[in-house]
Amino acid sequence: MSVALANYIALSAVIFMIGAAGVVLRRNPLVMLMAIELMWNAANLAFVAYARASMNNAGHIFAFLVITVAAAEAAIGLAIVVIVFRRAEFVDVDEVSVLKG
């Protein structure tokens, strides 16, 4: 028994929205980075599901590419969070407000 493509896509859309909401609503940069990872991985899930449905390996390869880039992005992201909040006791993006946005 196989799961229909639409279910995978619905799941990935839900994960994507949770990720987008997380970036907008949460104030902790680490949680925001995790939420961004959710968004990216929701796309991965969609890629893999579509690739399986259309028997086209390009989607699988794309997912691997995204995983690799996400790793690099996480490394840089965590490094930046560390230098920004090195001396802070807790991390909250509302504290980062030298530049008036």
Partner: protein
């Protein structure tokens, strides 16, 4: 289908890209070998510029040979289109590298130059991207290097350091989120067609909901990176916080790379069948012209001001594409070229008048520049007039061409918005010109002692190009028709 290895000609097609991507390795190696101080610093910039010039030479050779070759199974498409955008990226990178020198910090000059070149390589990859995977890869190479660059201030005050790191964090989070939107859009586009190739996306009939949603999410990502209006909030903060050479670099290279992707998507995929999907983009472009210029009115920091003016300028360039005519593409490229020279020229002047170790881009730094340094002030005035679109400059010709193409495409309202935006922008730029030439008590003006005269080269080249394109636009126009 792809079981065989790629032919050698595929690798020849990406030769300029390879040169730009490998030069940083040499810079980092020299950084280890050379003694600390001037040799190490100068070598990093010199090697970087040499690499870029070599890449430019290869690009020109490819252009003259009329090469049009899809490489790597349509992953990278070499042609006049990709070459023109790559040349703009290379030129912008050279000017930005020249601005690195006045800010002396031996520890960070090498890595800064290396990251800048890698970032440029990402933009060049985007310029030739023929499928979604290459677009994503190029975009991320460009962005990841820029996140680091934003935080890499050379020796500076604690406040300045905090500003720079803050800009890096903001850019990282907002840009990654935009990449997320774009990526999900790409997944949906892939789902709608079963292919990542842009050429295959073309075959989708209008009205496919998955395709429409994919396009929408993709365009949100594009609008964010271009800094078009509802998605522009990151730009002023990131531009103000990042080191000056990086701001200058970002203001052209990210835009050129993304514009190439947008234009290819627009012309290659949406074409004429999906006009309904693309109308929001023109509205967004029109809004950018107004909001960017209005917000620029009240700015007192030069980098912030140029960020807002950049939002408006990008609005003009995107407006040129309205109607998706071949002519519109050519005019957009002309304006992008003009924007590269006038914008980077202005940044180079700011780099020259920056205080010794500190970056000082406050508008008050410009008061009395006309008497203190007439040549520099004249160049700056010229760049600003060009940005405002007054004759006899490249900006003027560019705007006339864009007006012509939007009207020809039937987007009169866009042309009116362009004129309104231009009218507002004249105030913005004239304010600075006036500050430079209004007589002031010279005793209160600090001496300008740039640490390096390298940005002078950028100022001179940009000034000559801005004038030349303004007086004799046919020079570029004769070259452009070959672009496809």
């Amino acid at each position: 289908m792809l079981a065989q290895p790629f032919p050698l000609s595929d690798y020849a097609a990406i030769l300029p890209l390879t040169i730009v991507a490998t030069t940083p390795l040499m810079i980092l190696l020299l950084d280890l070998i050379l003694p600390k101080g001037a040799p190490r610093r100068d070598a990093a910039v010199a090697v970087g510029i040499a690499g870029l010039l070599l890449a430019a030479y290869v690009l020109v050779r490819q252009y003259l040979a009329h090469q049009f070759a899809p490489a790597f199974g349509f992953g990278f498409i070499l042609g006049g289109f990709s070459i023109a955008f790559s040349l703009i990226v290379v030129a912008a990178a050279i000017f930005s590298l020249l601005m690195v020198l006045p800010q002396r910090d031996d520890e960070k000059v090498g890595p800064s130059c290396a990251l800048m070149l890698w970032s440029a390589a990402g933009a060049m990859l985007m310029a030739g991207a023929g499928d979604l995977m290459t677009i994503f890869l190029g975009l991320e190479i460009l962005s990841l290097a820029l996140y680091c660059l934003c935080g890499m201030v050379l020796r500076a005050s604690p406040v300045r350091l905090r500003e720079a790191r803050e800009s890096a964090l903001k850019y990282l989070i907002l840009s990654s989120m935009a990449s997320g939107f774009m990526l999900y859009g790409m997944a949906l586009l892939f789902g709608a067609t079963g292919s990542v190739n842009l050429a295959a996306l073309q075959a989708i009939p209008a009205g496919n909901p998955v395709f429409a949603m994919g396009c929408g999410l993709f365009m949100i990502g594009v609008a964010f990176k271009l800094g078009l209006v509802p998605f522009h909030v990151w730009m002023p903060d990131v531009f103000e916080g990042a080191p000056l050479p990086v701001t200058a670099f970002m203001s052209v290279v990210t835009k050129a790379g993304m514009l190439a992707v947008f234009a290819r998507f627009l012309y290659g995929v949406l074409g004429t069948d999906h006009q309904a999907l693309i109308v929001p983009v023109w509205i967004v472009a029109g809004l950018s012209m107004l909001v960017g210029n209005l917000a620029a009115l009240s700015q007192i920091d030069m980098k912030r001001l140029l960020a807002y003016s950049g939002i408006a300028q990008l609005g003009y360039i995107v407006a040129a594409l309205a109607g998706t005519s071949t002519l519109g593409m050519r005019y957009a490229l002309f304006y992008l070229g003009a924007y590269t020279f006038m914008n980077l020229g202005a940044f180079a002047v700011v780099a020259l008048i920056s205080r010794d170790q500190e970056e000082d881009s406050h508008l008050s730094a410009f008061s009395g520049l006309g008497t203190r340094h007439p040549l520099l002030a004249a160049a700056m005035a010229f760049f600003l007039l060009s940005l405002a679109g007054l004759p006899p400059t490249a900006g003027f010709i560019g705007k006339i061409l864009i007006l012509a193409s939007t009207v020809a495409a039937g987007y009169q309202w866009l042309a009116w918005l362009l004129i309104a935006g231009t009218a507002i922008s004249v105030y913005v730029y004239i304010k600075i010109v006036r500050a430079m030439y209004v007589p002031v008590d010279l005793a209160h003006i600090r001496e300008i002692r740039p640490l390096s005269y390298a940005p002078w080269i950028a100022v001179a080249v940009c000034a000559v190009a801005t004038i030349a394109l303004g007086i004799y636009p046919a020079a570029l126009h004769d070259v452009l028709p070959r672009i496809r």
